[in-house]
């Protein structure tokens, strides 16, 4: 999806000012299959670019979520607590955490949509 930033570990960031909405890509949800649990940090937790902040779990396996940017969690997507499968329905609409970014320069280390598409071979 254009306008988003992408990591090699298949997370995206949608940027609105200083806020980053972090989720997993549509490609990632397809690879995972049915998401049955999303493990997310608490509000006010710090996340660091390149480090694990939670996990998305399918029936068979848990996949770590790696934060594409650093910052402070301002909100977790509570809808995913009751209905984790929303990630499969629309991965881009159903972000996982909203982060107040501490260093927007980090976005420069991420891919744009065209580069991400090339990476996954689409």
């Amino acid at each position: 999806m254009d306008g988003l930033y992408y990591s090699e570990s298949h997370e995206y960031v949608k940027v609105e000012g200083n806020l980053g909405f972090i989720g997993i890509t549509d490609y990632a949800q397809q690879q995972l299959g049915n998401v049955v649990y999303v493990d997310m940090p608490e509000v006010d937790d710090e996340v660091t670019a390149g480090e694990e902040f939670g996990a998305v779990e399918s029936v068979k396996a848990a996949s770590d979520l790696i934060s594409p940017v650093s910052g402070t969690v301002v909100e977790g997507n509570e809808a995913l607590e009751d209905e984790p499968g929303l990630v499969n329905k629309d991965a881009f609409a159903n972000w996982i955490i909203k982060v107040e970014m501490s260093n927007t320069d980090e976005l420069a280390n991420l891919m744009d949509a065209a580069a991400y598409k090339a990476m996954i071979g689409e």
Binding site: N34, V36, Y37, D39, V59, K60
Partner: protein, 365 residues
């Protein structure tokens, strides 16, 4: 060491169906075709077909076949007649498990042992080693058989109407040798899903033909992914998780398959002692209140203290709850005990519950 990965006779079909393939027990096996949840539910509600050709088969034949099988097997084959099947284990002298297996009584002097794919080499060596003292011949037949499992409430209908195999009068844990398409096949009313079902042993060629008929009839192909979620819900152990060289059937609370009242068998003394004294750890069921998923290897805690590990865990597809098998210290193994499971950085409350999470629907009579 790199070993070439093996393929079952149905491998091409799995690939053509677009299955997600993954190595399991030395074979390149289908984990899922499209959706593990749909495959799981097909077996619980309707019917599904599995490729289980990777399982191993060993025939034990001869004058002392009964005595020999009873010497290496925990259950008592004197309790069954021709055409019946028993589940049990082969044990090391210390009670640790070599493998869990099915024994088919073909005749008084002929038994078919069905063993786990991952253990074939080890088991065959073990069986041959101990057979030396008995008047028996050991015939390793794994390469000769393909095997499919038809599982679910509509399994019998599928056997009759799609495969043309008559199953009238067969109850759970019985089998028949039958003629089909010019060869003798083995049809057994067994499975690993907690549902009624059949397993059919036939030549690779005929196995492929039966598979094709089922797929053409719209039967859901099912991968090893849901095989594991199904057996787990039904409280059935998997070798490598709930039974290992370190875990005896007594610790795994499968003592009902260990017949301590029969004459000597390998591991009997150790099991008798464990039964009398209790094992330091035993297998329990755990249920979490949260959706978080306790997986193999995760720590089980009593307060701050590690008291065991998860052996298998899922967010149950049938029950929509997060549940697990865990090996825990016997002091905390009583039903209702409040424990917790460490899942990544967090700790989630868990309660000890019965291991049979789902009540199987077997054809008893």
């Amino acid at each position: 060491m790199t070993e070439e990965i093996k393929k079952t006779c149905l491998h091409d079909r799995h690939v053509a169906l677009g299955a997600l393939m993954s190595p399991f027990a030395g074979y390149d096996m289908p984990i899922q075709y499209t959706d593990i949840v749909a495959e799981h539910n097909a077996v619980r509600r309707e019917v599904g077909i599995f490729d289980v050709s990777h399982m191993g088969e060993v025939e034990v034949k001869g004058k002392e076949a009964a005595a020999f099988v009873n010497h290496i097997f925990t259950n008592d084959i004197r309790d069954i007649e021709d055409g019946q099947i028993l589940y049990g284990m082969m044990l090391y002298p210390d009670g640790g498990t070599v493998d869990d297996l099915l024994v088919y009584r073909v005749a008084t002097d002929c038994y078919l042992l069905v063993i786990n794919a991952a253990n074939i080499e080890k088991d065959v060596a073990w069986i041959r080693q101990h057979a030396a003292k008995f008047d028996v011949t050991i015939d390793h037949q794994s390469e000769r058989y393909g095997q499919i499992a038809i599982q679910g409430p509509k399994a019998e209908k599928t056997m009759n109407e799609v495969l043309g195999i008559e199953t009238k009068g067969m109850t759970f844990y019985t089998f028949r040798e039958m003629d089909l398409a010019g060869e003798t096949i083995i049809v057994s009313r067994t499975g690993y899903t907690g549902e009624d079902g059949f397993e059919v042993y036939a030549s690779p060629v005929l196995t492929c033909r039966m598979w094709d008929k089922c797929i053409e009839a719209g039967i859901q192909p099912c991968g090893l992914g849901c095989r594991d979620t199904l057996r787990f819900e039904a409280g059935l152990p998997l070798y490598g998780d709930e039974l290992t060289a370190e875990i005896s059937p007594i610790a795994a609370t499968l003592g009902m398959f260990v017949k301590l009242d029969k004459e000597d068998f390998i591991g009997k003394e150790a099991c008798a002692r464990q039964k009398a004294e209790g094992t330091p750890q035993k297998l329990v069921g755990l249920e979490l209140q949260d959706r978080a998923i306790p997986r193999h290897g995760y720590e089980v805690l009593d307060g701050e203290k590690v008291v065991g590990h998860v052996t298998t865990g899922y967010h149950s597809i049938t029950l929509d709850r997060s549940i697990a098998f865990a090996m825990v210290d016997r002091e905390v193994a009583a039903l209702g005990t409040k424990l917790s499971v460490r899942i990544r950085k967090k700790v989630f409350p868990a309660t000890v519950v019965k291991k049979r999470f789902y009540t199987p629907n077997y054809k008893k009579n």
